[in-house]
């Protein structure tokens, strides 16, 4: 029995290499032309709804979690924020009065203020792409698997499987560190130590 049929974007900082391709893809998806080469000439410039936060050796992709019982939806005084039929948290710009309450209550600091129109904006799970059955733009752009789209069941079972495989590889001694995200840094340092100790591969 599925616990949740609503898919969302899952983030895996261990796999994020900080290319910020998701930011570009997001901005392009939220432009008028939906074409990179035209989008950068648009006025106003389209803005990304996902941000990569560099935290030391790690990169953390931050985007809307589209919470069930989202605090932003609950506090919105005008009803500009709502859940659509797919469960995504959406904003109707026409109803938004720019009070920023959603930003105050969001535990992740997601909703942003667009000064030009005095309204809030945030990740909307790419409604145009959802209609076409495509992945959200940021997920499609992510080449390392740091961003994944699916239901909690799918993701959790994948994580479980990957971890199980890793345990087996560790046990068999064939586990090699992944050259991704913080693993990239860890493995770089491991390699330097190996070289210094004269044990280069």
């Amino acid at each position: 029995m599925p616990t949740d049929s609503k898919p969302t974007i899952f983030i895996n900082p261990a796999k994020c290499i900080g290319c910020r391709q998701c930011e570009i893809a997001c901005a392009v998806e939220h432009s008028q032309s939906k074409d990179l080469f035209s989008a950068i000439f648009e006025d106003p410039l389209p803005l990304p709804r996902i941000h990569i936060l560099p935290m030391g050796a790690y990169n953390v992709p931050m985007n809307c979690r589209h919470c069930d019982g989202a605090p932003c939806v609950e506090v919105c005084p005008t009803g500009a924020l709502y859940h659509d039929e797919d469960g995504a948290v959406m904003i109707t710009p026409e109803k938004c009065i720019g009070c920023k309450m959603c930003a105050i209550v969001c535990p992740f600091g997601i909703p942003e203020f667009e000064a030009l129109n005095g309204v809030m904006f945030k990740c909307d799970l790419c409604p145009d792409r959802r209609v076409e059955g495509k992945l959200p733009a940021c997920v499609e752009a992510c080449k390392t698997g740091a961003l994944q789209f699916g239901t909690i069941d799918e993701i959790v079972s994948n994580v479980r499987k990957e971890t199980a495989e890793r345990i087996i590889r560790l046990k068999e001694g064939t586990y090699e560190e992944e050259y991704n995200g913080w693993d990239l840094f860890r493995s770089m340092y491991a390699e330097i130590i190996r070289i210094n100790e004269g044990e280069s591969k």
Binding site: C19, R20, Q21, A25, L47, E140
Partner: protein
């Protein structure tokens, strides 16, 4: 996975791509798909990896970061990256030119040595001895080039002249004085020369040394890398001016040397009929594909394939003979000079192997996908790499050496022949389609065809029978359906009575669709004026001028017309286009076309859009600086219209 019809308009490519899919072989189109979406910073050119404080990138949507760690903004980064592309393209062409110059020098030295040793060889003074691996095949051209360079030809033997020409060429690569290149001075008309001198003044940078006249081919490339080093040149204008200079070192230096000296060594192309497309591979023959860019090796392969001993071996092993075919620009070199059929352009290199009928693909340098080795693993095909500077993991290395060229070429052909019994006959499928066409339109051949001068062509242009000339250039890019834009732009221009000249993968594309047949003028794709002119002179509506390094043939042709009309090249109703550009060489070619005064269209958006100032310079300001600029337009119909409009504008300015 893509449908086969989406990847190409060429039916042989379509069928072989389908076959690759059936066999589960990954090709260029799958690899492109796996790269999607491609990095937006890279596509816009706003990613800088020139120092280790980086990599840095600029937010193209106006937010932070607006500057790299060093403080470079988007325009500086974009201009620097573009300059590096130009430098790499110029380096590739020019290194090719150097290789040819060195070969000419080696040939002259060997002839001298043989003479001294008193070897009984025929006509050594003409270097037409069959003992030498390389000879001077076109004595007339050697004399003509020497004359242009101001070398005294009277009373000198051919080998002395060959040595002197080679030395002037080699001097141009490494010279350190402030003079412009000897080849540039010898070939460029004075009015355009003046524009080159004054370009920096017009760009508001009078302190720029020597205008945009290149001083040393290598020097300008090295200076490009110096300028783009962290903390050196940050003004997009001066960075781009140096880009023009570097590309001109390629145009009127490296590439020109390659073309001219190749003609001296291997013969100047003359009009000849030949065939193109994968259908030129033969079922019962040992098929050898020569692929890459340099004829120094492939000329010898062609010779070795006629060796009676090897032919006998081929027959003994069950083959009817040895069939050498070309691919990419190496293919065009042997096509132009010997009528050796060409199997295809860039995107057909994997497809040729997928036929299962190729015994060996012999590669030298440039545009050879490392993936050929992977595809070849699915068949008996051997990839043989020959250049010390292009090694392919998984390929057989047979290092080429000019001094032992005949011996090595025979070894390569023997390796292919001996591989014939490994061919699995039931896994062979060769598409039948091939097309004939007339090729070999070197400047000399064109002059000869028009009775010794370009008058007929110039008159037709002045009368308006022909509206202008468009030079179409090279490359396939899997981002565009193979050959689609090449053919559409060609047809749209010919419909408007524009005579086409072209090189590289464009030329192979055009040949595959019959555009190089005189009969093509009777199709609806050719306008009445061009039809009349082509019929009068018995030429196809488009002329194949050779490989991509031979783009200089187009420059020399434009230069001749400019001299006749006493105007700079930029005044002529001439345009350039690279409809499916892919390489850094194409960036260099496009830049030197523009710098020389030929407004040039690009069908693929180059990685510059992230720098608005750079875009403005390239598409607008260059008109004031050198009299030509870039047009970027992915739609072939719109592009042809823009190019035609430019031609008409130039006609109006000339008062014709």
């Amino acid at each position: 996975m893509k449908k086969y019809k989406e990847v190409s308009i060429d039916s042989t490519t379509q069928r072989m791509y389908e076959r690759a899919q059936e066999m589960g072989i990954e090709t260029v189109w799958e690899r492109l798909e796996k790269q999607q979406p491609q990095c937006g910073y890279g596509l816009l050119g706003v990613c800088c990896r020139n120092c280790m404080m980086g990599p840095c990138r600029i937010n193209p949507f106006g937010g932070e970061p607006r500057r790299g760690v060093c403080g470079a903004d988007a325009d500086t980064i974009v201009a620097r990256n573009l300059l590096r592309m130009i430098a790499a393209g110029a380096a590739a062409h020019s290194d090719h030119g150097r290789h040819v110059a060195l070969t000419l020098l080696i040939a002259a030295e060997m002839a001298e040595k043989f003479k001294k040793e008193g070897k009984p060889v025929l006509e050594l003074d003409n270097m037409a001895s069959n003992v030498l691996p390389y000879q001077v095949r076109d004595v007339e051209k050697l004399k003509a080039v020497a004359k242009r360079l101001g070398i005294e030809t009277e009373g000198k033997t051919i080998r002395e002249l060959a040595r002197e020409v080679a030395e002037v060429a080699l001097h141009d690569f490494g010279k350190q004085d402030e003079e412009a290149l000897a080849f540039l001075k010898a070939y460029l008309n004075p009015k355009t020369y003046e524009i080159f001198e004054k370009a920096p003044e017009k760009a508001g940078m009078p302190w720029f040394e020597n205008g945009i006249l290149p001083r040393g081919i290598d020097r300008e490339i090295v200076e490009s890398l110096h300028r783009t080093h962290i903390g050196t040149d940050h003004d997009p204008v001066s960075i781009l001016l140096h880009g023009l200079k570097t590309s001109l070192g390629d145009a009127w230096g490296g590439s020109l040397i390659a073309t001219e000296l190749q003609d001296i060594l291997f013969g100047t192309p003359q009009v000849i009929k030949a065939e193109a497309n994968l259908g030129v591979l033969k079922e019962d023959y040992v098929n050898i594909v020569v692929h890459g860019h340099e004829p120094v090796l492939s000329e010898k392969i062609v010779e070795a394939a006629q060796d009676p001993e090897l032919l006998e071996l081929a027959e003994k092993l069950g083959a009817k003979g040895i069939n050498v075919v070309g691919m990419c620009c190496t293919g065009l070199e042997v096509l132009m000079r010997h009528g050796i059929p060409i199997a295809g352009n860039f995107l057909q290199q994997e497809m040729a192997i997928v036929t299962g009928a190729v015994e060996a693909m012999v590669v030298d340098v440039q545009c050879i996908m490392p993936a050929t080795v992977d595809v070849a693993r699915c068949f008996h095909t051997k990839i043989i790499d020959t250049s010390p500077l292009a090694t392919f993991p998984g390929a057989i290395h047979i290092k080429f050496d000019e001094r032992r060229a005949d011996e090595i070429a025979r070894e390569i052909v023997r390796t292919a022949v001996e591989n014939f019994p490994n061919r699995s006959k039931q896994r062979v499928e060769i598409p039948k389609e091939k097309m004939a066409g007339y090729v070999g339109f070197s400047v000399e051949a064109i002059l000869k065809h028009f009775g010794g001068s370009l008058k007929p062509l110039e008159e037709a242009i002045v009368e308006g029978k022909i509206k202008g000339v468009a030079g179409l250039v090279g490359c396939n890019n899997p981002k565009i359906k193979q050959d689609h834009n090449h053919i559409k732009i060609a047809n749209e221009l010919m419909k408007r009575d524009v005579l086409l000249i072209g090189t590289g993968c464009w030329a192979t594309a055009a040949m595959k669709y019959g555009i190089f047949l005189p009969e093509y003028v009777d199709t609806e794709n050719v306008g009445p004026g061009l039809r009349e002119f082509a019929k009068e002179w018995g030429i196809p509506p488009a002329l194949n001028m050779g490989s991509c390094v031979d783009c200089t043939r187009m420059l020399v042709l434009a230069d001749l017309i400019a001299r006749d009309l006493n105007v700079p090249i930029s005044a002529l109703p001439v345009v350039g286009s690279a409809p499916e550009a892919m390489t850094e060489k194409a960036v260099s070619i496009g830049t030197y076309f523009v710098a020389s005064g030929i407004t040039t269209h690009l069908g693929i958006v180059p990685p510059v859009l992230g720098g608005p100032k750079v875009v403005k310079i390239l598409t607008q300001d260059l008109y004031d600086i050198v009299g030509a600029a870039f047009i970027v337009e992915p739609d072939p119909y719109k592009a042809a219209k823009l190019m035609y409009d430019h031609i008409m504008k130039k006609r109006k300015e000339l008062g014709i």
